[in-house]
């Protein structure tokens, strides 16, 4: 019963956020120079006066703003995000066809950065103020200051152009038509550089957090108790400290999903990875504002859903977290 109530509450909260984002989107269209018909059609190219008039009527631009907002919300609720003239496809279809590559990239980055971040952070905390610690701290300072897109370009220069180890762009070798295992390996080969680029930044973030978290846990009373009952340092670290120290890192990883999606725009652009981020870049080039609005909306929904899943998983993992 408790669980159901919790789920319902989270759903309502998530729904509210999505609603606010839709209103934001609507407001942005109002902000743009010209009216919505100019934005939706004029920017897309061929717009005869007849077509404009038809559009204005279709979108009810002669009606008051609140009626327009209502119509807009109703269309969004049925996932009707409009039509992309540049691509000749409905926006929602276009977006969903690009969702999978982005999810693959994000999932890989999330797993790699959390995993290695925990390892590095724990190692830094165990060797406090020795070279391991200093190395991790220096890497963190560097990673915080490196523009992600530049790191990607430099990796391309070194590993693709000079060494020729990895492909420069794309998700699959064009015209190879691999199937099955061979195809998976090919995609993995293309995935390495973009994933490494994004992972470097988040790895630093989680390593720093893990280090602080381990140090905090190590000063707790339960560690003294464990030591008093004769456990070895290794046992204390593995069984007691690490398990508790991981929690803030997982929380942070959940909160960072939105930032990760934003970061994937530049990385996908650099590596030509055919996901949502590259689509956003292409829509900028094509001046297809409606498509960009749709991408923003879907990404925001994605973040809300992922945050919700993380919250639920968290409550299931740690029984002390109250489902309220």
């Amino acid at each position: 019963m408790n669980m159901l109530f919790f789920l319902a509450r989270r759903l309502v909260q998530g729904g509210l956020i999505v609603l606010v984002i839709l209103c934001l989107n609507f407001g942005l269209v109002q902000l743009a120079p010209g009216d919505a018909a100019d934005v939706l059609a004029g920017e897309a190219g061929a717009a005869t006066p007849q077509y404009m008039a038809q559009l204005r009527e279709k979108f009810g631009l002669d009606q008051p703003r609140y009626v327009q907002l209502g119509n807009y919300l109703r269309r969004a609720a049925t996932l009707d995000l409009g039509y992309s003239f540049r691509y000749g496809q409905p926006v929602s279809e276009l977006i969903f066809s690009r969702l999978l590559p982005t999810l693959l990239l994000m999932g890989t980055v999330l797993l790699a950065s959390v995993g290695f971040g925990i390892l590095l952070g724990a190692s830094a905390a165990r060797h406090l103020n020795r070279w391991q610690d200093n190395l991790v701290s220096s890497l963190v300072v560097l990673a915080y200051a490196t523009p992600v897109f530049w790191a990607g370009l430099m990796l391309i220069v070194v590993f693709s152009i000079k060494l020729g180890w990895f492909p420069t762009s794309g998700m699959e070798q064009v015209g190879a038509f691999y199937t099955g295992m061979r195809r998976a390996l090919d995609i993995a080969h293309h995935l390495v550089l973009p994933a490494v680029t994004l992972t470097m930044f988040y790895l630093a973030l989680y390593a720093r957090l893990m280090r602080a978290s381990v140090l905090e846990q190590a000063s707790m009373d339960y560690v003294t108790t464990a030591r008093a009952k004769g456990l070895t340092e290794r046992q204390i670290a593995r069984r007691h400290v690490l398990r508790n120290a991981v929690q803030p890192v997982v929380t942070m990883a959940g909160l960072q999903v939105g930032a990760l999606l934003g970061g994937s725009v530049v990385v996908e652009t650099v590596f030509g990875w055919p996901g949502l981020g590259l689509l956003a870049y292409e829509s900028l080039f094509a001046r297809d504002l409606n498509l960009l609005l749709g991408i923003f909306f879907v990404s925001a929904c994605l973040v809300v859903v992922i945050n919700m899943l993380v919250d639920i998983a968290y409550a299931l993992i740690d029984p002390r977290v109250k489902l309220s």
Partner: protein, 275 residues
Amino acid sequence: MKDFAVRFMRNRPAVVGLALLLGVVGVALLAPVVYPGSPFEMVGAPFQPPLGDYLFGTDMLGRNLTAAVAYGARVSLLIGLVATAIATLLGVAIGGLAGYFGGWVDTLLMRVTEIFQTIPFFLFAILLVAVLTPSLHSVVFAISVVSWPPMARLVRGEFIRVRSREFIEACVSMGMSHRRIIFLHILPNTLSAIIVTGSLMVATAILIEAGLSFLGLSDANIMSWGYIIGAGRSALRTAWWVCAIPGMAILVTVMAINLVGEGLNDALNPRLKRL
């Protein structure tokens, strides 16, 4: 104040950061003196490698990359500072109101802050600049709009901490106005935290600006680091330095600001045990 300077100067990374930052500021200030012409001007053959006629070589249109990077420093620092100033004002106002008044004001403002923290902020910045058409103003506006939430949360926490102290109770019992309590008694006590977070925000703002102009979302008449990298990308195979050098400039600047910010943090909060 003297104590603060001594503590800051004892922190080696912070001093290195300060020196680097002063160097970048110096380059930014001197750019129009050393390179009086426009950085968009053609000076020689394209694709000249670095350390030839020009320190950093030339790009694909034969423009002097050294001049471009020097002018880029002006843009990055300017946008970073102005955007941070606006975001700080916004964040302090929202966080301060929420923390001071509590109750439904707090609930409402924090819900808004949460929403702004949930949405993918870089995509939102892209959208804002694209809708408002790329210009110096729209870029600064977009960066400010996406960067205030952390400041608001921090200021709210600080306000709640200070508000519960006895001397504020004394102020209230003396019948002081809210405005006087906030501006004369609470705000000065939260200033050091605001300065530290603000200095780190400048670094983030510079990174966001670089990302936006890399994607082509910048004023077309202004030479910025991200723009040079974005334009040089197509010639990565023949002229890697066109991308590499402005990127190094971003890295050095952002790192310097981060180091100074950390140093300020340690010097302003000496009692805070650093983990």
